[in-house]
Symmetry: C2
């Protein structure tokens, strides 16, 4: 596998931008793409022909392994524009490391560090007009890798395509979220691929999430698949619980994604002298705390929504409502994170990364 | 969802067949496709525009959900040509039912029965020269469905593409197979998608299977993810154990695929007055039986390889060798199944389905 020096990038610019046709005040998350995309192929044991070209269709065989065996991984990150017009990323090294960790678990060759950053920054710079300033606005960045070898036999692909798409985004969730605590379906197995951002993990959640929606809940809080005893993730976010003034969250494992927002929240909390208890959290504790009034907050943490407060949870058909406290942790963390991301507040952690 | 009457199929024939360029004595499984393929799109809540056209590339957005969320399912079946030139399928209703069961679990709309069979039989008839007679030869048939809506947000697609590809095939495995009994990695979770032929299940197995290969084993026998105590599947096959003269196999569950070959083997065994015990099979029983000499055979069962005898298994780094007995069950089942499939023997079960 070649993860060495970057090759010269081929850059093909759009003849005219599509930006004039976009209504930036009414964006559906992840469905409008900016002018350019990055593409790089793996064949003969090396990543080849890094190219930035106008966003557009791929010509691909229906026999490509990605369609049949889900050999694909992705990342999600954001670029933010501050009021001075500077563009920032948030902890991009974490996403770089994680995509390669995901790739490894999915038997996909790792992508070279320098080429990842060159592609990312060149692409964002080329489409800088697509990054809008203002709190909550961002350019969502989607690096991903897919298996492109043609062959319907279940073995790892010899060929891959690494791509980066970008899509302008406003705030992801509107309003509070009601969740159901899973007690039948699960998202990941011990020794499985839950800790990887593997494509198939997400499609597998759609059906149980639909069932939750039919009952009036937006997301599922996933529990361990063996006994549904431990609280693990909320939809596609990590999940935090505040009991009295202590913040609880599950340790990462091979079932739980090591979220960048999660680890940032843990650091923010410690910096704010909030007690953080990273340990397996029992469903029974949550129910008990809801009943005795010590459960103050539940919130999801992830790049798309940043922090997503949960207003109610259901467990075995009993619904427990939550009232956001005055001194809400989720509100505080969301503000502190967004201030750092948008270059409004101090960044004592060194999380911001300047693109332009 | 529209699963009602079939629409008129659009048929576009190749101008000249590629069949002359194919070396039918040296086929790599699943990598040479016949002249035509079937394609049908789901949009606005209905399956539309069923089309048979020359095998060739798709033009598809890199933002299509299949690439990001693995919302995709597939089937695997075979057509056989007998010595009179007649073409047969094996229990195709099972595959039809299973693809819709898989689709349901993956939040994909079901495909209509009559259109499935019309597409399948029309396609096989058009490419009938690609089905070669002779025991072990077949046309492998790959129906599959992928999410085509453009959007990088993790929610079910509104649009899908159902396709059928076909690929001429010789025998799948050559020689006996050595396997490792999983005691760290797993293929499926309780309440997960293991019982579905969901694309992501397969990509997820590549890395642990690579690790097994590096140690000189071809496949992994998957165990339950909670305790690695129960024997569940062998690679992408169901698995049988013969202890003394009893045949053991795990019951199907939400972790185990309901294989057509598996259920056929169970029926063949019963018909042959062999004791079949469908119950959870312990790893410890297997090891014990290997030690005391009562373990006579292990074999995988699946469409691609039909029956795949296992010549050795490794558990916690101890290797147990097997010698195929004179009265091998696996040899007998393989012969009986292939005789039915190729229209050589009687078919008291009504499993053969005449295409042409
Ligand atoms: C399953 C899952 N958990 C948690 C997260 C949160 O991770 P991050 O904060 O890095 O976005 C994600 C991705 O967004 C995810 O897909
Ligand atoms: C995981 C898994 N188990 C078992 C089988 C065997 O099923 P069948 O006999 O229907 O081919 C398959 C598919 O071939 C499979 O993918």
């Amino acid at each position: 596998m070649n993860t060495s020096a970057t090759q010269k990038m081929d850059i093909q610019k759009v003849e005219s931008s599509r930006i004039g046709q976009v209504d930036f005040d009414n964006l559906t998350f992840g469905s409008t793409f900016s002018d350019h995309m990055f593409e790089c192929d793996y064949k003969d044991g090396a990543w080849q022909n890094p190219t930035i070209r106008p966003y557009g269709n791929l010509s691909i065989s229906p026999g490509a392994k990605v369609f049949h065996y889900g050999q694909a991984v992705f990342e999600g990150m954001k670029a933010y524009k501050d009021d001075q017009g500077k563009i920032w990323l948030f902890r991009p090294e974490e996403n770089f490391e994680r995509i390669n960790k995901s790739s490894k678990r999915m038997a996909i060759p790792e992508f070279p560090h320098d080429l990842f950053f060159e592609a990312l920054t060149t692409l964002v710079k080329m489409d800088k007009e697509w990054v809008k300033s203002g709190l909550g606005n961002s350019l969502y960045i989607r690096p991903f890798v897919m298996a492109t070898q043609v062959g319907v036999s279940a073995s790892p692909s010899t060929d891959y395509k690494f791509m980066i798409l970008t899509a302008p985004a406003q705030a992801y969730y509107t309003g509070d979220v009601k969740v159901i605590v899973a007690d039948h379906y699960s998202r990941s197995a011990n020794g499985g691929v839950g800790a990887a951002k593997a494509a198939g993990n997400y499609g597998a959640q759609f059906y149980p999430t639909n069932l939750a929606r039919e009952k009036g809940f937006q997301q599922v809080i996933w529990t361990d698949d063996s006994e549904h005893k431990y609280l693990e993730e909320a939809g596609t976010m990590n999940v935090f619980f505040r009991i009295n003034d202590t913040l609880l969250t599950a340790p990462v494992s091979d079932r739980i994604l090591d979220g960048v927002t999660r680890k940032s929240v843990i650091d923010l909390a410690k910096h704010n002298n909030i007690d953080v208890d990273v340990r397996p959290v029992l469903v029974s504790e949550l129910v008990e705390a809801a009943k005795n009034g010590s459960l103050k907050e539940i919130f999801g943490a992830g790049t798309a929504a940043v922090i997503s407060p949960v207003s109610a949870f259901s467990h075995k058909d009993v619904v427990y409502e939550l009232t956001k406290p005055e001194d809400s942790f989720s509100t505080r963390f969301k503000k502190e994170l967004m201030d750092i991301q948008h270059n409004i507040g101090e960044d004592p952690y060194g999380w911001r990364f300047e693109v332009l």
